[in-house]
């Protein structure tokens, strides 16, 4: 018994080392699984679900790898653990869920030559994946089989029942379900049975749900489900994150190797580097996954000067402190640049690590704008400009901004009229320019009208107009209803440069759109087409 506890302690320590900062969760879980627990546990982790899921997996699988018999062969109290880890996203149908669970609990690997048969349960032709009943039955058969194997006996039918009863407690099943919040959508009928699986199947099975959302959001109505044993995971502290990152330094541990970027002698330097990175990136993200992504992407170029200095050495010379400090200071600005490019995955880590000049990052933004502009056709550019104007100008100003007939112009020139007295400051909040308030939605025909004005004023010279169009503006009007114009609008909205806000199946009235490009892109487009955008944008106030 003592040695089993020692083994557990050793295991706790090992897992704690690879997942720093989760000691409480680990000890709780170990206690829960190895003793007599409530049969349903809910792990709620709103911050780093992925890390927690891999922690639980690692923990349970190493627990099940512990061979209970080797310690105290005669003691019944030490259970052998059979575990299955299931992802609720991957198991989108009940059948898939049943198959995966049973196969993994039984450690059954389907073979191609056998026609990929699922775990047969000792009998051929029996299916356990047709319904919940079948699944529960399968669990019982599996439990009996595992217990029997545990007893080290050949499964003789006559004795099976008796032996299984004697050694019933020695096999304990653990079912871990990741992304459990998805069960509610994809397998809602399974949620209640899963919470009381042990009760229903009458075998020793422990269900652990891991999810980002709190249990209250998943909880079925009417109180049909058992309340779980709650475990909440707190967000990792900066120190924990740092330790996680350092523990993931991908070194092979060969100290005598020639210098390379992942030489074990660099570990200490790496820790310093991670320190600097974490302190800079902490305001933006604390997800260890993301931070280690950035760290991995930045490290090769960061360490390159050091390696250059030691190119011909076959042993690693320690790096002087002042060099490290200088290097860190030089690279500080590039950390934010890396974060800006890598966190939204505008670039992936490999490209980033291969980009020679990483210190000037912000240029990528302008490049993106250029890319977008260059890939558009002329008509699409005009449509986007019109959409931007429709989104940023209030509709009541359209007449003033775009009306081009003679009388409106003269009316505008006359101006005058009664001028409102300037409102006292403080009585109303200052007006926010529309471009800061986000795009407003507009009906398609308003955009078409603006588009017509733009085409008529800025594009007409470049066109060859056939003689059949005699009236002023007739040509442009025709152009607006052509197939390719509608096609361009559809294409832009498929590319999310125009956002359709009304549902596509609504035929009543004109479709509503929003503009999907930013102020900067609109100005760049205007420059490209020689449209004076600043004159056309209505500035409030």
């Amino acid at each position: 018994m003592a040695s089993y506890l020692e083994q557990l302690e050793y295991l706790t320590k090992e897992i704690s080392d690879s997942f720093p900062g989760n000691d409480f969760l680990i000890s709780q879980l170990i206690t829960l699984v190895t003793t007599c627990p409530p049969t349903f546990t809910y792990v709620h982790d709103p911050y780093t679900t992925g890390v927690t899921a891999s922690l639980v997996n690692a923990l349970i699988s190493s627990l099940s790898a512990v061979d209970a018999k080797s310690f105290v062969p005669e003691d019944d109290a030490i259970p052998t653990i059979a575990s299955a880890q299931v992802n609720a996203v991957a198991c989108f149908t009940a059948r898939l869920f049943y198959d995966t669970t049973l196969n993994r609990l039984a450690k059954w690997h389907p073979l191609w030559d056998d026609g990929c048969e699922n775990w047969p349960g000792g009998f051929t032709g029996v299916r356990y994946n047709d319904s919940l009943d079948g699944f529960l039955h399968g669990l019982r058969v599996l439990h009996a089989q595992l217990s029997d194997d545990e007893a080290g006996r050949t499964p003789q039918r006559s004795r099976l029942k008796v032996k299984a009863q004697v050694r019933k407690n020695t096999v304990k099943m653990v079912l871990i379900i990741e992304r459990a919040e998805r069960i509610k959508d994809s397998l809602p009928e399974l949620l209640v049975p899963l919470t009381r699986l042990a009760e229903l199947s009458k075998v020793d099975i422990h269900t652990i749900l891991i999810s980002q959302s709190p249990w209250e959001e998943l909880k079925p109505l009417m109180g049909a489900a058992v309340d779980p044993f709650h475990l909440s995971v707190r967000p990792p502290s900066q120190e924990d994150t740092r330790r996680i990152l350092v523990s993931r330094f991908p070194t092979d541990g060969d100290i005598s190797a020639a210098p390379h970027a992942y030489h074990p002698a660099l570990l200490q330097f790496y820790a310093q580097y991670v320190d600097a990175l974490c302190s800079i990136c902490a305001p933006f993200t604390r997800d260890p996954h993301e931070l280690s992504y950035v760290a991995a992407a930045q490290w090769p170029s960061f360490v390159a000067p050091v390696l250059d200095a030691q190119r011909d050495a076959n042993q690693f010379h320690p790096i002087p402190e002042d060099v490290r400090m200088r290097l860190l200071r030089v690279f500080l600005p590039s950390f934010t640049a890396a974060l800006e490019a890598l966190l939204p995955r505008r670039m992936h880590a490999r490209t980033w690590s291969q980009t020679p000049d990483v210190t000037d990052g912000p240029a990528s933004d302008e490049k993106g704008v250029e890319m977008t502009i260059s890939s558009l056709s002329t008509l699409q550019k005009y449509i986007l400009l019109a959409a931007f104007l429709a989104s940023s100008n209030p509709p009541r100003t359209d007449m003033r901004m775009f009306a081009r007939s003679r009388e409106t112009r003269s009316r505008r020139r006359r101006g005058g009229g009664t001028r409102k007295a300037p409102q006292r400051s403080g009585s109303t909040p200052a007006k926010v320019p529309q471009r800061l308030a986000g795009p407003a939605s507009f009906p398609l025909d308003r955009m078409s009208a603006i588009l017509a004005v733009l085409l008529e004023e800025y594009d007409l010279e470049s066109r060859v107009i056939s003689k059949e169009f005699t009236q002023l503006g007739e040509y442009t009007e025709m152009e607006l209803v052509r197939v390719h114009t509608s096609g361009a609008i559809t294409e832009l909205s498929a590319a999310h440069l125009l956002l359709r806000v009304s549902p596509p199946d609504r035929l009543d009235g004109p479709p509503m759109y929003k503009c999907g490009i930013s102020y900067d892109v609109a100005l760049a487009l205007g420059r490209d087409l020689r449209v004076p955008m600043l004159d056309l944008i209505w500035e409030a106030g």
Binding site: V89, R95, P110, D113, V126, A297, P344, A349, M371, H496
Partner: protein, 709 residues
């Protein structure tokens, strides 16, 4: 007869559906087809040759096929070590080839150099934006991936083999069918040659990715030798059309199985916006992926290359030369609307098609008129039925500018002579066209050399495509003069460089061309002068060469419309029928309803007035006219009343002088009017001009307002 079937590939957007059975050999059946075809569409029927339509159609097919083959399929013999391998190379795919290579390489290396220290293995995603601009592109990539073993034999490491599955948006309405399509796409090819029957209920489900894992395990183990394990490539076509949540789940599931399953997703974005993935998918999904973005080359350079290598290439002689009007339209359409190769090909095809409307184009290739010998052709042309055709031919052949002022009588006296004169005109046109192309090539080359020598001012404000169209109009005089001026100012060394470059330009051309002789002589004369000359008089050489060049350009860069019978081989200033490609359907429907007389076959050929009296209109138009006069909602009964009045006046106009019908007839007439009203109403309904609302009894709503009449 269908083009899609026997001639060119089936993906092209224009196909011809024959209205008669071509395969029947009976003569009368043939004739029927001819007549039907000719009746269907024939803008110049009055001066067409009998049966000319079908002959011209065949000629069109031949001409377009020639042009299309040139653009799309070109055979290149590429020797590779000992073996000679035949490859079909397209002008377009030659342009794409570097990118295809790059994509294939990045697929192969997707799992090779993974950056150490990443938190998880990412699912490699290759996003190809703008893939819709050329449909062949993805097929190129896929076929390269499938057959890569033979291709890249020179590499040290053989690239991994690839298994490919294609997913289309229509197959993937939900996650289950998506996964099923993905898994079965691979698993349907048994890994070791023998398929194993799976049990429907007790085996792994067909949408279970575990099944793919088992399959892949067998596949990997059965591979012998040092070959790297095969890769699994999934193509997602028309990616924008996929449901976002489904794709998110699919990415999630796939990414949890890498790298045990070396899945690589190739995402074909049909638009040209590479940021689509980033604007559409959340960071949590993007962080599972490693997205490499490629953009298919497109834009004016692509078009320029296609045109330059077909219509402006000396090695290729198209049956029909595209004129500046069509070229301008093509350029404009390409920049303004859709920069796709398919679109450009379509425009060229339609240009060809339209060109063959002209009855005279029956002479485009030879003067056999679809018969087998010259005698038969003469006979056919002498047929009195084709007199209008003959007349037009004669008047076009010998317009007043072709006849010398002092000539008396006709230059030809019989039909055979006429045909011979056409042959002469064709030879002349071809000859002048070749010289034209050569001169244009020389002009571009001189410009390039001068630019390379560092004279930025030689940069004209015209794009190469604009230069082509300007040259066809004969409008490159200014540019030519400027280049000549620049040439005259060149120093000895630079003149030397220019001459050498032009020499090598000529050497690149096929040697048998007579047209190059003139240029060669000009060059040789200048080179001789240059050799003998000393520093002082050397500028004279440049001067002389410049003069020669000026004369050369002036002589050869001509307006092709000055040639005799150019209409047959040159589309010239004929405008492109842009409404065919870029129609305005609603405007057309409305104008058809308003002015049916310009759409219907003219039965009574009186001069069409602006606005017909209402009783002359077809029923649907009568209804539509009343529709326009109504308010937002239309009372159907009132509508019917006014319609029956119009029909009544129509009746009285048509049967003027006839007596009034009896009571029974009157009853029947009412039924008749009602039926006509219903039919017209349904027609409008079908077009979408009426909306039924339950709001008001007996009322329908207008959907179209503000129609300028």
């Amino acid at each position: 007869m269908s083009l899609a079937h026997d001639d060119v590939d089936a993906t092209q957007p224009v196909v011809y559906i024959p209205c008669g059975d071509e395969t029947s050999t009976e003569d009368d059946a043939e004739n029927d087809t001819d007549e039907i075809l000719a009746e269907e569409y024939s803008p110049f029927r009055e001066r067409d040759l009998p049966g000319g339509y079908v002959t011209r159609f065949d000629l069109y097919r031949a001409a377009w096929k020639k042009c299309f083959d040139r653009m799309e399929v070109r055979s290149i013999f590429r020797s590779l070590g000992a073996r000679v391998e035949t490859r079909v190379q397209h002008i377009v795919s030659a342009l794409h080839a570097p990118l295809v290579d790059e994509i294939v390489r990045s697929v192969h290396r997707a799992y090779d150099d993974i950056l150490p220290g990443l938190p998880r293995v990412e699912l490699p995603v290759i996003a190809i934006s703008g893939s819709s601009t050329s449909k062949g592109f993805l097929a190129d990539v896929a076929s390269r991936l499938e057959t890569n073993h033979a291709e890249d034999a020179e590499d040290d490491d053989p690239p991994p083999g690839s298994h490919i599955t294609h997913l289309y948006p229509s197959d993937c309405p939900n996650i289950m069918s998506t996964m099923k399509a993905l898994v079965t796409g691979f698993v349907n090819h048994p890994p070791n040659g023998k398929d194993v029957q799976r049990k429907p209920v007790t085996s792994l489900a067909s949408y279970d990715i575990e099944l793919l894992k088992v399959w892949y395990g067998v596949l990997r183990d059965s591979a012998e030798g040092p070959e790297p394990p095969p890769q699994l490539v999934v193509f997602l076509h028309d990616f924008e059309q996929f449901d976002e949540s489904v794709v998110q789940d699919m990415f999630y599931i796939c990414s949890s199985y890498v790298p045990q399953l070396p899945l690589i997703v190739v995402v074909a974005l049909s638009s040209l916006f590479p940021s689509f993935l980033h604007t559409t998918y959340p960071q949590s999904i993007l962080s599972l992926l490693r997205v490499d973005t490629f953009t298919v080359p497109s834009g004016p350079t692509l078009l320029e290359r296609v045109i330059a290598e077909t219509f402006f290439d000396l090695r290729f002689e198209p049956d029909v030369m595209v004129g500046p009007a069509a070229l301008d339209y093509l350029t404009d359409f390409f920049c303004r609307h859709a920069s796709s190769v398919e679109g450009a090909l379509l425009i060229l095809q339609l240009t060809h098609f339209k060109h063959f409307d002209e009855p005279l184009t029956v002479f485009v290739h030879d003067e056999l008129l679809g018969t087998s010998s010259a005698e038969l052709a003469t006979e056919k042309l002498s047929d009195p039925k084709g007199i209008a055709f003959l007349t037009s031919l004669v008047s076009w052949s010998f317009g007043h500018q072709e006849l010398a002022p002092n000539q008396v009588g006709w230059p030809v006296n019989d039909v055979a002579g006429l045909l011979a004169s056409i042959a002469k005109a064709r030879a002349d046109f071809r000859y002048r066209l070749r010289r034209f192309k050569l001169a244009f090539g020389v002009l571009l080359r001189v410009r390039k050399v001068i630019l390379n020598l560092g004279y930025r001012t030689a940069e004209v404000d015209k794009t190469p495509l604009e230069m082509m169209s300007a040259s066809l109009r004969g409008g490159l005089a200014r540019e030519g003069k400027y280049l000549v001026m620049m040439t005259k100012k060149l120093s000895v060394e630079k003149t030397q460089i220019l001459l050498q470059d032009l020499q090598s330009f000529l050497d690149e051309l096929p040697g048998h061309m007579d047209e190059t002789q003139e240029v060669r002589q000009g060059l040789a004369a200048s080179a001789e002068l240059l050799e003998g000359a000393e520093g002082a008089i050397s500028t004279g050489v440049a001067d002389e060469f410049g003069d020669w060049l000026a004369g050369y350009f002036q002589e050869h860069i001509i307006n092709l419309e000055d040639l005799r019978l150019w209409e047959i081989w040159y589309t010239g200033p004929t405008p492109f029928p842009s409404d065919m490609l870029n129609p305005a359907p609603r405007a057309s429907v409305v104008s058809a309803l308003l002015q049916p007389q310009s759409f219907l076959p003219a039965s009574h050929n009186d001069a069409t007035p602006e606005r017909l009296p209402i009783w002359k209109l077809p029923d649907a138009s009568i209804l539509f006219r009343r529709y326009l006069e109504a308010g937002r909602m239309i009372n159907v009964y009132d509508w019917y009343d006014s319609f029956s009045q119009a029909v009544e006046s129509q009746r009285s106009h048509l049967s003027r002088g006839g007596g009034e019908g009896s009571g029974a007839d009157e009853e029947e007439w009412k039924m008749h009017v009602q039926a006509r009203f219903m039919r017209a109403l349904h027609t409008l309904d079908l077009i979408g001009l009426i909306k039924h609302t339950g709001r008001k009894a007996d009322h329908v709503m207008r959907t179209v307002f503000d129609i300028p009449e």
